[in-house]
Every structure is written in C-alpha cells, then in structure tokens.
Subunit: 339 residues, 2 copies
DNA sequence: TCTCCTCGTTGAAACGTTTTAACGGTTGAG
DNA sequence: CTCAACCGTTAAAACGTTTCAACGAGGAGA
C-alpha cells in the first residue's frame, strides 16, 4: 500500500545526491536555487514526507514539547495549556497534550512514552508530587501548578494555602461559622494546601477548629460536586454548614446544581466559593465567587523555565504566583438586603 | 550531561548480545528467565530508556494516535476526546491531543508533523473540510464531527442540519417568529449546516425567510457570544428577535451573560437555544436548552473506523448520528405561566 | 599560467533499534 | 548410539535520515 518514498528516491528523481535533498530540507539557503527547485519539484511529485523518526534518531533534536494534564475536561487546564502552547510556538516547538485523567497508571504510561520519544521537554501537573515516576530520566521535566519539594526540577505554582485562606476568610467575614470544605482525594497536593489555608483562616479568626467540616470527594469533577451536595443536604440541619469552600470550580458548579435540585437557595441557604475562576464560573446559575489564578501565565512561565533547562549553568527555579479572590453572587448574601 | 545509554550498553553490562536485550523488551517470553532477570537488572541499574525513534524507524509501527481538535477549550471536544482515548487505550495505543485553535496554519503544521512522525492514525475535526491539507499522505485520517464529502476517507458526524431544524422548530412552536441565528465563521461546515437546518424549520412552518436574522461571529467562543449579545440588544426593538439559536453552547453562554448584564431576562425577553449540550449548559445562569450530540460515542466510533483503516479490504464508511433536543429553562417561557 | 578561494555538491559514516537466519547445545525418540 | 527437533542466543543487516570531510568547477588575483 505504502511505497514509502524516501529521501534517496527523491534524490534519484531529481538527479542529485541524498545529502543535497537533506540540505534542501534543512538549510535551503546553502543549495543553488536551480537545484533547490528541482528537488522541491521531485518532493511534490513523489509525495515525499520526511520520516521524523530517522531525522530525530540522527539529529538528536525533537521539535516537540508535551504537557501531561491532570484533567483535559477542566477548563483551568486548557487555559494553562493555551499559555504553554503560545510559549512553545514562540520557540518553534509543537505541543502534544496528554491527559492523565487523574490516573496514576495513565500518567506513568504517558511519561514513559514521552521519555522514549525523546521529546524536548515535559510539563506535567502530576497526580502525586511524591511519586517516583517523576524521577529524572534525561528529559527535562517542569512541574505545573505544583511545587517541587526537592530541588531536582523547576516548578511553577500558585500559593494554594493563601488561596484557601482568602476564600475562607471571606466566608468568615460574611458571618459564616459553620463551613464545609469540599474536595479530594487528599493525595492531591492542591487539595491539601487549600484545606490547610482554610484551617489557617479559621485559626486567624479565632474560631474553633470544628468550624470546618471536611467533605472528601473522590475526584474534582462536576459529578463529585453533585454527590457532595447531596451529602451536605443530608446532614442534620442543626449541624449543616451555611457555607462551602470547594477545591475547584467544577465541584462548586456540581454543588450548585445539587442545591438547586433540592430546592435550596445559594447563597441564602448555602454560600459557595469555588477555585480557579474558570470562564464558566461567571456564567453559572448563581455567578460563582472564586479564587482566580493566572492561568495562561502559569503555562507560559513553566514553558520558559523548561526551555531554559538545557542552558549550560542552569539552576532549578520555583516560581510562585499569588491568587486573587473574585467575589460574585454566590457569596454576597441577599439576606443582608442587597437587592 | 546525558551519557545516553543504549541497548548495547545494557547488553554489555548484562553479558549478553543486544538482540537478547531487544527480546527482553519486546518478547520477554522467548528469553530464559535467568537471563531476563539479569537484563532487567542491567536496565534498571543503567537507567536505560528505549529510544522510540530508533525502534519506530526499524519496526515501522508507532503506538500512538493523534486527535487534532478544533478548540481544546470547548468541553464538547474534550468529551469527544475522552471517547477517542478510551477506544485508543483498548487498542493499546496512546493519544496525543493537538489544538488547532480554529487556525488553518496551526492545523497544517500539526498535520505535517504528525505525518512525519508516522503516527498510526490521525483523527481531526478540521477547520475547513475542503482544505487541501487533508490530502492523503500515507497516514490514515478520519474526520470527526464532519462529513467527508468525497469518498477518500472515513468520517463520523452528527446530522447538523437536523439539529438546527430541531432547535428552530422548537422555538417556532414556542411562538417565536423573529429568530436570530448566531454563529460563524461560515467557513466552518457545522455553522453552515445548522443554519441550513434553521432555514428548513422556518420553511416547514410556512414562515417568511426573513423570520431569521443571521448574526455572524468571528468564532465559537464565549467572548464572541457576548459580542453577539451586545449587537442583538443594539437592534431597534421592533426588529429585535425574540429568540436566538446559537451554533454552540459557548456562544449561548456568552449571549446569556450579555443579556444578564444588559438587564434583559431569558427567556422572557430572549429565548436561547444552544448546541452540544455540554455539561456546563445545565449549570448555566439560566439552564440552557440545547441540542445534544453523542460525544463519547462520536470519538469512540471514529477511533474504531481509524483502526480498521489498514485492514486488507477496507471501504471508507460515513457514520452519521442523530442529535436530540434537550429543553430547559432558557426556552420554556415563563410568560406562558409556567412558574 | 598558476594558485588560492569559494561555492555547490557528494560519498559514506553514523544514530539505536528490530529482525532474520543461523548457531551450538541439550533432549527425546527410535 | 544416532538423528532430529527444539531451545536460547547471537551476528549482522536493515530502517531513512543528518552530518562531515572532501571534492570538482569556476573565478579572482598574482
């Protein structure tokens, strides 16, 4: 089926050596215009497609970057990916996206494959920062939206503890004293950090630690948020929190749906704060108060760090951005008379 | 920095030939357990990572599929991608996602690269179906969410004309006689088809053709929807449509935001129908009536067709699914007394 | 005319695997 | 005791590029 036309077929057809064809492909300026035309014509005519494997095998380089994303369905990550792609593009590299879907095994498989492919570099938001599958294997790796604990690689992160603190402080200042923290699994560092921030806020306000109720979820998707909402409503009304801080916006949106379905009003019966401030947060049934992160910038910066990795005297850096609270209707209680 | 340990280093270290190492890697059962252990130990010890380029060059095969997506930020496509990945996974292949971001040039670059990489197959939702960059170059290509006009490749699509018809018929039956069709650019086939469906619905109902007002957008993102909304509100109120059919949910959500911001109510002042029924449609400020497509199934089926491509007597197939209207609050007019 | 450059082109050696046919050694049947 | 079959292992030939040193042909300067 495939006659598989190679560089030497082109050479023969154009009456030159294969080295010349290679030159036309890689250093067009070095070859005489007339020959160049002849070779290009031959390429066109034979439908030649350069074999990247062979090229890479010999040349060593690879022209592609990969970003292993935690959940491709989460707009937060696609926004980060946009930043990554822009930066990669500026450097003349293409970007392959891989979706680990929060699955340890998939993540490992993709990492293995990418190492074997000898991509120029790997960006990853790992399922588990401590995991051994991140060990150095020759290809530079930069952590995105996670902080590298050891100094063995670069990372770009956002201060999640601060983010959690901002969110819960806002709830406390709005008068809430029973607050649910929704998120999970705890193996994800972000969840832990945001939870930690929540605890810090409570401590700062001088509230007892049991002002927080932790509702652990099995993941960070909308469906899990709905589940959590159902559980929340099931609590005895005396013990039921009056506000919820969700580890991301998807959970918050799920929670919102659950509330609406059960006939509870947001924020009157339950105030809700999300995290990430994805585009859909503002368009939600009740526009969502959320903690905003510099998404594109996260991706862009991570890529720049990655590209700097193979500079001669490289030192691993850890960049940390600040999050920002965006207040919307889901917490600006109507009970206080607003509107 | 990289000592670049190869298969022969491993062989030497384990006291065997490189062929045996290769066997351990590819046909572990054929080599004696003792030797296998020895080789595996050497691999571990030297931190050997197989060079996929070399493997692929020699073996011909490539273990990866690619999906070139029109807009990675659109949940519709990530849902399709989930279906693709599941199916690819079942076949023992990995999936690389590429985002053309509706850009002709990027699409071409990615296609070029993927052909050069000799991936096992390419799935694509192209910017422009007629485009020459889809020409056969040896790697099988299957169109996703687009119908192949010629018989040169497989495609999996949804009946977009029917979808448009369903949506607008629903609006007409709800009593609307001035309807905006929002979408663009017209170079995208889906936009054309859905528009065509709208016209058909109008014709079927015996309404004049100018019952439809076409609002062309420059893209299919939320921001474009907001723009369209602003333009819509700017129309003289006598001429202003009472309903809008958007080419996808992102546009519809943007339109919704614009309406809210301008103080208009949905559906009372403007009924809205979206398309795709993404997860966020149900969670919107006003839950969105939308046209649902079988997303995962779309991806899964496309992948199966792709994998069938290199069977001996392959005939290109065109699968077409039926869409389904999901009615929610954005069209169930409160004016009729419902709640 | 001779020498020295420059320019465009080329032959051949890599790159690191997979694969094939062949190898020697052991085993079981006759 | 012989022979065939089998088993685990191996040497060597690909795979299709890139790269590098070397080459010949002109042209310029002496």
């Amino acid at each position: 089926m495939k006659p598989s036309v190679g560089i030497r077929d082109v050479a023969q057809h154009a009456g030159v050596s294969n080295a010349t064809v290679s030159n036309v492909l890689n250093r067009p300026d070095v070859v005489a215009p007339a020959t160049r035309q002849r070779v290009l014509a031959a390429i066109e005519q034979l439908g030649f497609v350069r074999n990247e494997s062979a090229r890479q095998l010999r040349a060593g380089r690879s022209r592609v970057l990969a970003y292993v994303v935690l959940d491709a369905a989460n707009p937060f990550f696609t926004d980060v990916a946009r930043g990554v792609e822009d930066a990669a593009r500026d450097a003349g590299l293409a970007l392959f996206l891989c979706n680990s879907a929060s699955d340890d095994g998939r993540e490992r498989e993709y990492l293995e494959l990418l190492h074997e492919q000898r991509v120029e570099g790997i960006l990853i938001t790992p399922v588990d920062t401590e995991s051994a599958q991140l060990a150095d294997r020759g290809t530079p790796v930069v952590l995105v939206d996670r902080e590298a604990t050891d100094g063995t690689r670069c990372s770009v992160a956002v201060d999640d503890v601060l983010g959690g603190e901002l969110a819960v402080t806002h709830l406390i200042e709005s008068g809430h004293t029973r607050i649910a923290v929704v998120g999970g699994p705890l193996s994800i560092q972000q969840v832990r950090d945001r939870h930690e921030g929540a605890r810090r806020a409570v401590a700062n306000a001088g509230l007892p630690a049991d002002a927080l109720t932790f509702l652990e979820t099995r993941g960070l998707q909308v469906g899990e948020g709905r589940n959590a909402g159902d559980r929340l409503v099931g609590l005895p009304s005396g013990r039921r929190p009056t506000a919820a801080f969700c580890a991301n916006d998807l959970l918050a949106l799920g929670l919102l749906q659950s509330m609406t379905q059960q006939g509870l009003r947001v924020p009157d019966d339950l105030a809700v704060v999300g995290y990430d401030d994805i585009e859909f947060a503002a368009a939600a049934a009740v526009p969502l108060t959320s903690v905003r992160q510099p998404r594109e910038q996260l991706g862009r910066t991570a890529t720049q760090l990655l590209l700097a990795e193979n500079e001669p005297d490289h030192e691993h850096r850890h960049v940390k951005f600040q999050p920002e609270l965006v207040v919307r209707a889901s917490t600006s209680a109507r009970r206080t008379g607003v509107r």
